[in-house]
């Protein structure tokens, strides 16, 4: 699946999107896998209360199942308007 990063999450990880092969059942499982990768991921996902997540472009909670999602995006709280 495609994993997307926006705003400071993108900057901290150093790329806007990547293809991730995972068996993770929930978003939180995926976060744990990413955290274990490298320091930059651990830093970006250190405090998930500072993050939001969308599965296939719909906002969800971190305990949401991934199912057969095509796209998961991580980003800070939004500041539109």
């Amino acid at each position: 699946m495609d994993v997307l990063y926006f705003a400071w999450v993108r900057e901290r990880i150093g790329l806007p999107r990547e293809v991730v092969e995972t068996e993770a059942a929930t978003v939180m499982d995926l976060v744990q896998e990413l955290r274990a990768r490298e320091d930059r991921y651990a830093a970006a996902f250190a405090d998930i209360s500072a993050l939001r997540v969308a599965v296939d472009q719909t906002l969800v909670d971190f305990d949401a199942p991934i199912g057969d999602a095509r796209e998961i995006a991580f980003f800070p709280p939004m500041t539109g308007g």
Binding site: A7, W8, Q57
Partner: protein, 148 residues
């Protein structure tokens, strides 16, 4: 109902006029416009990042909810992304309803939800460097009053 997400500037007057003139059943049109505000020490520019695809879908969903809840005849959202200078117009919403109370309330609802539920992120660039604008606690609180 029209949703536009674009980097190009838009003509606020022309958009407002076209929106108002297209109405027949509505007696009230309310518009809100967001402008890049200068900051202490001087803002050089504001960068607005967004999530193409989700942005349009989120805005359409919010506008649709407003339309149903306040029986709007029509709604318009225009939101820019990319680099903007102080004083530039970032975005606008317009609502049309039979009576003004619905048009006003729906516009406020649209703005409250757009601020913290549409995937945009602002970064301010000043002489001191650049910094992402943090979401405010009050933005989240603003959503609570619309819970019924």
């Amino acid at each position: 109902m029209r949703i536009e997400v674009q980097s190009a500037p838009f003509d606020l007057g022309a958009e407002t006029t076209a929106f108002a003139e297209a109405q027949r059943a509505s007696g009230a049109v309310v518009t809100f416009t967001g402008i890049v505000r200068d900051v202490e020490g001087g803002l050089i520019a504001m960068d607005i990042e967004h999530y193409p695809g989700m942005t349009e879908a989120a805005l359409a969903e919010i506008a649709e909810e407003a339309k149903v809840r306040w029986s709007l005849e029509d709604a318009l959202v225009v939101h820019r992304h990319g680099r903007l200078a102080p004083g530039e117009t970032i975005m606008m919403v317009a609502t049309a309803a039979r009576h003004r109370k619905d048009a006003f309330e729906a516009a406020e609802f649209l703005m409250d939800f757009l601020k913290s539920r549409a995937p945009f992120w602002k970064r301010e660039i000043t002489q001191a460097g650049s910094a992402w604008v943090a979401a405010k606690e009050t933005d989240e609180d603003a959503l609570d009053r619309w819970q019924t």
